[in-house]
């Protein structure tokens, strides 16, 4: 017996989906986490002596960078699972994750540019970690462009999966760039206790927001595919 034995709307064929009040719980939690993260990074965390308030970019920059890497890993993992099982459901996860990875990697570069301008007095420099992140963003852009040009869903999924797995080779470079190569990007800066609280809170909040976006996008892709199949059936 389902816990929520009523449909979510008049047309809903599922009788076990939760009522609207329960379905928005994740959204409310993510929003609350985000408010807490913004307050912690702007009010709780102390102002850094050398960079001043510009140092607070770190809380959003590291959080979106983490989301970008997690999105890319999800995309490659879902691609691999598609190749192993040939189930398009995995391809929907891969596409949704690719969009999140593209958005997050782009935001990492933008927020990093703001940081670079404040810290190094330049908007961009070919520093190893910056270059590796730019490559990751370019790969996710290429992934989305290539996908949009392939009609057959299985061919599109196969091509995407191979691209995602090849592109995933850049992830260790992004993560380890500050240790493997000599650059100016900070590796693990010294932080005060309040800063150490604000940073993980920000990472969790952004992960919740981007995770929700990923789930929502994946749901729409699934619905789109189902609708396409039903339309073909109605036409035939």
């Amino acid at each position: 017996m389902p816990i929520f034995a009523r449909p979510c709307c008049a047309r809903c064929p599922k009788w076990d989906c939760p009522p609207r009040a329960y379905r928005i719980i994740p959204d409310v939690l993510a929003a609350a986490l985000l408010v807490a993260a913004v307050l912690a990074s702007s009010l709780l965390a102390p102002t850094e002596k050398t960079m001043g308030d510009a140092q607070r970019i770190l809380y959003v920059h590291v959080a979106v960078a983490w989301c970008g890497l997690a999105g890319f890993l999800t995309m490659a993992g879902a691609g691999l699972l598609y190749l192993l099982r040939r189930d398009l459901a995995w391809d929907h996860w891969a596409q949704a994750a690719a969009e999140i990875a593209w958005l997050s990697c782009g935001l990492t570069l933008v927020t990093g540019s703001f940081w670079a301008h404040a810290a190094w007095n330049t908007w961009w420099t070919w520093e190893p970690r910056l270059a590796a992140t730019a490559v990751l963003w370019a790969v996710s852009s290429g992934y989305l462009i290539v996908r949009s040009g392939v009609e057959d869903p299985h061919r599109r999924a196969r091509t995407g999966a191979v691209l995602a797995l090849v592109g995933a080779a850049d992830i260790p470079l992004v993560v380890m760039a500050t240790r493997w190569f000599r650059g100016i990007h900070p590796a693990s800066p010294q932080m005060e206790p309040a800063m150490r609280l604000a940073l993980p809170l920000s990472i969790v909040a952004f992960s919740a927001i981007f995770g929700l976006l990923l789930v929502r996008r994946r749901g729409r892709l699934r619905l789109e595919r189902l609708l396409g199949a039903m339309e073909r059936e109605a036409d035939g």
């Binding site: 047309r11 969009e99 958005l103 935001l107 940081w115 789109e224 109605a234």
Partner: protein, 54 residues
């Protein structure tokens, strides 16, 4: 503070635009569902046997 605010605004602008895109997609899918439902109802009405008057 200006740089920090600018970075935050860039992030929120991108997230809001992505959410707006998801919303537009949702509306398009809802329209597709309605049109499909209408087509199926029409088809059902066409296939239903007409009652013969006595």
């Amino acid at each position: 503070m200006g740089t920090f605010v600018a970075a935050y605004v860039a992030v929120w602008l991108a997230v809001v635009l992505y959410v707006a895109r998801l919303g537009a997609e949702q509306r398009r899918l809802a329209r597709s569902v309605e049109s499909l439902q209408l087509r199926l109802e029409q088809r059902e009405a066409e296939q239903r046997p007409r009652s013969i008057p006595a």
